[in-house]
Amino acid sequence: MGIISRGFGGRRREPQPGLPPGQYLTHDFPVLSAGPTPRIPLDKWNFSIVTETGEKHSWNWAEFTALPAEEFTVDIHCVTKWSKFGTTWKGVALDTLFEDVESAADYTMAHSYGGYTTNVPLDDLLDGKAWVVYEFDGEPLHPEHGGPARLIVPHLYFWKSAKWVNGLQMLNDDEPGFWETGGYHMYGDPWREQRYQGD
């Protein structure tokens, strides 16, 4: 062992650049699930954006994977306190998906196969801040990690990066999703430690 681990023995860790308050670094990729893992055949897969007026923009798997894709590397932060640096994904930027969407709504609810939901303001999805990804580390995204496709919003706690995502509903008012209803924070900024309602 070449490195003496700081903070061993319960002493408070020194702040590490890139690590939000209260988080520790992991090299694993823990799997957290609130239910059974849905298995979605690619020929049944669909992703849609539905505006507040009910206008629907929809992509099947072939259409979706034909869109311009980006490969990017980001740090991710789970509310259960692990962070993982330098994760590499490939997918479609939300900016691309919203190109032809006319909407005046400021909020969205992400919906997933299996019934999971999470709310994210529209501003947090645009300007290169979020993607719908279908590859992790150069491989097709495994169902346990949210495949065929999941949302990635790396600047918010990872529960906002909905696994098995299949759509976004535009909303005029912010509404709580699955964990937000259960006591978690409406916004979830790891740098402000917005873990729970009232934080």
Binding site: L32, A34, G35, F178, Y196
Partner: protein, 86 residues
Amino acid sequence: MMELDGNALAGDLREVFATDMTGAVFTCAGCAHTGVLATLRVWQPAPGLVGRCPHCTDVVLRLVRTPTRVFLTLTGATRLELPLEP
């Protein structure tokens, strides 16, 4: 009849919530299935406990612990039924 505030519930709620709840009968809001809480399928190392209906897999309850609080969300249950001590 007179209208009271929630303090009037104190005694009855203490009776409900200070007992072992695993024998309480839930009614699932999704499919109207009834069963004791002990029969829920619980998913655990999630950000909280998620209890799903054994019949339709809808979420019946969520329990989130923080260092200082506990949130119990029961939107998936239309009713809880408990036997009274004789």
